[in-house]
């Protein structure tokens, strides 16, 4: 029975706080091996769902690895393909450690299979370059991205940005997942389907959580430069979404929030605790309403 409970508590961990939640669950259960056993699967699902951003070293350099279902070489294998380097990387979801396969192991068929054909790979590369060098740089200062060739020959564009500031008690995450399909050899046109997820958490003397998501669909856009046009389109949609969020938050603060509790009574004075003026103020309220 406690397997279900362990899963329930872990899967809702706020951005960047899986390790802290895991530690609490272990304290409560008192059987680390049992918790680890459940956690391996739950955290794996969590990482793929929220596009967890890991890093690994190869050739003396540090590389980003986005965990997503598009990167899985085989379901449940913990081996992920990094399209930017063409390497297979082993990721330990419990230890949060990534390690590129070396030597014989590295020459896997999986990596070959995931690369796709030459035309698709060159299209992928162009979109990736545009995304990384133009869009990410400006808009996601802490984020990482990846572009994959999917089984159906489409491109999957993933963006993930998590900021965690445990010392100031807050964290936040933005993830985007877009699928780009094309028509014609040029290609001449493209369509996009996407989803953005936003979550924030504030936990100093409290617990405040923000959740939002939006789905997008853009059909049949003409193009002469796929990489440039599709990233521009993603940028426009995401910008509009963020603008809507900001406007709605301000509007809520100005309207509904004000109706919940006033800053001061209508009299513009604090409550008259020591005089009989309370009833006068109540009278004023009634008149205002009438």
């Amino acid at each position: 029975m406690s397997e279900k409970i362990i899963d329930e508590l872990l899967k809702d961990a706020p951005p960047g706080q899986v390790k802290e939640v895991l530690k609490d669950v272990k304290t409560l259960v008192g059987d680390d091996a049992k918790v680890d056993n459940v956690a391996r699967k739950t955290i794996r699902e969590y990482d793929l769902k929220h596009l967890t951003h890991a890093t690994y070293k190869h050739g003396g350099k540090s590389h980003s690895l986005l965990l997503s279902k598009h990167a899985e070489t085989k379901p449940g294998s913990d081996l992920y393909y990094d399209p930017a380097t063409g390497l297979c990387v082993r990721y330990d979801h419990l230890e949060q450690r990534a390690e590129a396969l070396e030597g014989e192991e590295a020459k896997s068929e999986e990596a070959e299979r995931m690369r796709g054909d030459e035309a698709a790979e060159s299209r992928r590369k162009a979109v990736e370059t545009q995304l990384r060098d133009v869009y990410m740089e400006k808009n996601y200062p802490f984020g990482a991205c990846a572009v994959y060739v999917t089984g159906g020959g489409d491109l999957a564009v993933c963006i993930s940005s998590t900021v965690s500031k445990p010392r100031s008690y807050w964290s936040g995450r933005w993830t985007s997942e877009w699928v780009l399909s094309t028509k014609g050899d040029g290609p001449d046109s493209f369509s996009l389907k996407g989803k953005c997820d936003v979550a924030t958490h504030y936990y100093e003397q409290g617990n405040v959580q923000f959740r939002s998501n939006r789905e997008f669909s853009v059909a049949d856009r003409k193009t002469s430069d796929l990489a440039k046009d599709c990233i521009k389109c993603i940028a426009e949609e995401e910008f509009k979404y963020q603008e809507d969020l900001q406007e709605s938050l301000r509007e809520f603060a100005e309207t509904t929030f004000k109706k919940l509790r006033r800053q001061l009574p209508l009299t513009q004075l604090k409550f008259p605790w020591h005089t009989g003026a309370a009833s006068l103020a109540t009278e004023l309220m009634k008149r205002e309403k009438a």
Binding site: S168, W174, T200, G206, N207, V208, F252, Q263
Partner: protein
């Protein structure tokens, strides 16, 4: 090695500070099953959204919480009766009940002026075993606004739980220790859900000749006003800033801006 009860309680409270407040019931169930030995301490430390009931005799609404509960029954602050009726439900002694009646009248007016249509309840219990003449109470406010429906786009719910301890100080003063939690949820249809709680504390020593009810009222008014501003900052200003710091919408957001906002959000 198994953890002590204190360690388990600390872990459970830490979890509840991290996991989404909207599912607090589910998590409480999980935690109570994992560590039934901490049940009492855990429930006493966790604020849950306030439920509304109606005093059948006087046809007036009141709020349910752990402080007016006895078994499965809740005591109405208006009629002092338990619903459903119990033979042995705990009631405050006469002098405290008198104060409770006075408080419910006054805080209903306070509620009308600040909440414009909210619901209030005030409950007292004695704490003589701690110190002669000391007592404790809880003052609750609830306000709903808007709805999510075909036509409704926004909904807000405010639940305030003020727990106060009054301790006599010398002959003519009392110390009031207040712990306040406001649970606030803000929902915009098809766009966002923002929910959670903030807790703040305050202590004041005041002359008792002014009366306990006005004294408690003044302390609550001061802390609640500050918390209202904190909530506005943390919920709306803060949240917007955090989103902009993750995905830069063109606004410049150095860490300093965020630190400033945090400073402002503190009471």
């Amino acid at each position: 090695m198994t953890a002590t009860e204190d360690e388990k309680l600390a872990a459970a409270l830490d979890l509840l500070k991290r996991l989404p407040p909207s599912r607090v019931y589910t998590y409480l169930e999980c935690l109570l099953e994992l560590a039934p030995e901490i049940a009492e301490d855990l429930l006493a430390n966790v604020d849950q959204p306030l439920q509304v009931a109606k005093d059948k005799k006087l046809s007036k609404q009141y709020l349910l919480c752990d402080y007016n509960r006895d078994g499965d029954s809740y005591r109405s602050p208006w009629s002092n009766e338990y619903e459903p009726a119990t033979d042995d439900g705990v009631k405050p002694k006469e002098s405290l009940r008198k104060l409770e009646v006075e408080g419910n009248e006054v805080f209903q007016q306070y509620c009308g002026q600040y909440y414009d249509g909210g619901i209030s309840s005030f409950y007292l219990w004695d704490q003589e075993e701690e110190e002669p003449g000391s007592f404790a109470g809880s003052l609750l406010f609830k306000k709903d606004c808007g709805k999510i429906s075909k036509a409704g786009m926004e909904k807000g719910v405010w639940d305030a739980v003020h727990v106060v301890e009054a301790l006599p100080k010398g002959k003519d003063q009392a110390e009031y220790k207040l712990t306040s939690t406001v649970m606030l949820s803000a929902t915009k249809k098809d766009l966002f859900k923002l929910e959670g709680n903030l807790t703040r504390q305050m202590e004041r020593t005041l002359p008792t000749k002014q009366g306990h009810v006005p004294n408690i009222g003044m302390v609550v008014e001061e802390l609640e006003g500050g918390m209202r501003n904190s909530l506005q900052q943390v919920y709306f200003g803060w949240c917007e800033q955090v989103v902009s710091s993750i995905r830069n919408s063109g606004m410049k957001l150095p860490e300093k801006v965020i630190e400033d906002l945090k400073a402002k959000a503190k009471v």
